[in-house]
């Protein structure tokens, strides 16, 4: 096809296409919808018996704050990545990874005070928790990926990775509220580990670009 024919075809295909809202506003929409989006997963697993205790534990609250910060920073990065030519993408991605690194560091340091570590009691619910992280994260991830596909992600691997990291951090937070095992080693390997693995796998699969004409 010649270029002038392509231009004619694109002009024929033109429909009014109002510009998308800014990444900040779209991030606000996603965060506002998060309780609703993660509710089915949370309802499926229920809450741990001692939720009140979790709310009074400063360490647990710190980990929850890291999960929320990771989610917001990664979603912000993904939404910025989906707008070509946006400034500050490297800072946004770097911030997301820095928050994850701090979260992991906090968990590693928390392992010193874990009880029952030597008996191996931290290991028992791993497969269940991987499923919990996935089921709580799947709808937020789908919603964010739909939002990204409305824009124009050029770096599809990184965009997908950040989007799934954002949703999986929500999954890790929900799992923390649902899982009775609050030991740092378990949270690290059973909640944060799957989150990282899902993000890396999704980035490799570039799922944000599946089934679309490449931007």
């Amino acid at each position: 096809m010649r270029t002038d024919e392509l231009i004619a075809a694109l002009v024929r295909d033109l429909r009014p296409a109002p510009p998308l809202r800014s990444p900040a506003i779209r991030l606000g929409h996603w965060i506002a919808a998060l309780p609703l989006l993660s509710a089915p997963g949370m309802l499926a697993w229920g809450l741990r018996d001692d939720v009140q205790g979790l709310l009074e534990d400063r360490i647990q609250l710190t980990w929850a704050a890291f999960a929320l910060a990771t989610s917001c920073a990664a979603a912000w990065s993904a939404l910025k990545l989906a707008v070509p030519g946006t400034r500050g993408v490297a800072v946004a991605v770097g911030s997301s990874l820095a928050v994850v690194a701090l979260w992991i560091a906090s968990l590693v340091s928390g392992m010193n005070s874990d009880t029952g570590f030597a008996e191996g009691s931290m290991a028992w619910p791993y497969p269940v928790c991987i499923v919990k992280v996935a089921t709580i994260a799947v709808i937020p991830a789908a919603a964010l990926l739909v939002m990204l596909r409305q824009a124009a992600p050029l770096r599809t691997g990184l965009t997908t990775g950040m989007a799934v990291l954002a949703a999986a951090a929500v999954g890790a937070l929900g799992t923390q509220v649902a899982c009775p095992n609050a030991m740092a080693a378990h949270v690290l390997l059973g909640h944060v580990g799957p989150m990282a693995a899902f993000s890396i796998l999704a980035a490799a699969a570039r799922i944000v670009a599946l089934g679309t004409r490449r931007t």
Partner: protein, 172 residues
């Protein structure tokens, strides 16, 4: 672009024509004279079209556009590298076979092939010519003729069946 987002076809045609010229010149500077320049131009225009909602009219157009163009140029470079890695050095290339005389290809008389293609219904004829003579892709033919890719494949299959019936086995 702002007018294009509002559905103004004339402004959009003007913009795309201008962008095509810009991309061509930019790609030539970056890639040199290669056969992939036209691909880069067309892929960039397609990307601009697909991404037009992501352009924020309150921000400058150039960074948005050049980010897309850079991405397409990177793709083109990757493609060139892939092709180059698959090419055999001249010394390793097999000896070319004696080309068949131009009046006969694969056992068929060329004139009779053209006559059989001419005998096809108009749409099938256009599809066969596009796919086999101009080497266009199914997607390109579908876009140009306003058909779905599946419909193009079905029409092409029917055309090939008719051609087989008309031409018979080679050399028979």
């Amino acid at each position: 672009m702002t007018l294009a987002q509002q559905g103004d076809g004339a402004a959009y045609a003007e913009l795309l024509t201008m962008l095509a010229t810009t991309v061509r010149a930019y790609a030539r500077r970056r890639l040199g004279e290669t056969p992939v320049i036209d691909d880069v131009v067309q892929e960039t225009l397609l990307s601009v079209h697909a991404a037009r909602r992501s352009y924020d009219p309150r921000r400058p157009f150039a960074p948005w556009f050049y980010a897309i163009l850079s991405s397409r140029l990177a793709d083109a470079r990757r493609r060139q590298r892939r092709l180059a890695s698959r090419e055999l050095p001249d010394a390793m290339a097999p000896e070319p076979a004696t080309p068949p005389p131009v009046h006969e290809v694969m056992g068929f008389d060329v004139a009779s092939v053209y006559a059989a293609v001419d005998a096809l219904p108009a749409r099938q004829r256009a599809i066969v010519r596009a796919l086999k003579l101009r080497d266009e892709s199914v997607r390109e033919v579908a876009d140009r003729l306003g058909m779905s890719p599946s419909a193009v494949k079905v029409a092409a299959h029917r055309a090939y069946r008719t051609l087989r019936r008309l031409l018979g086995d080679p050399g028979r």
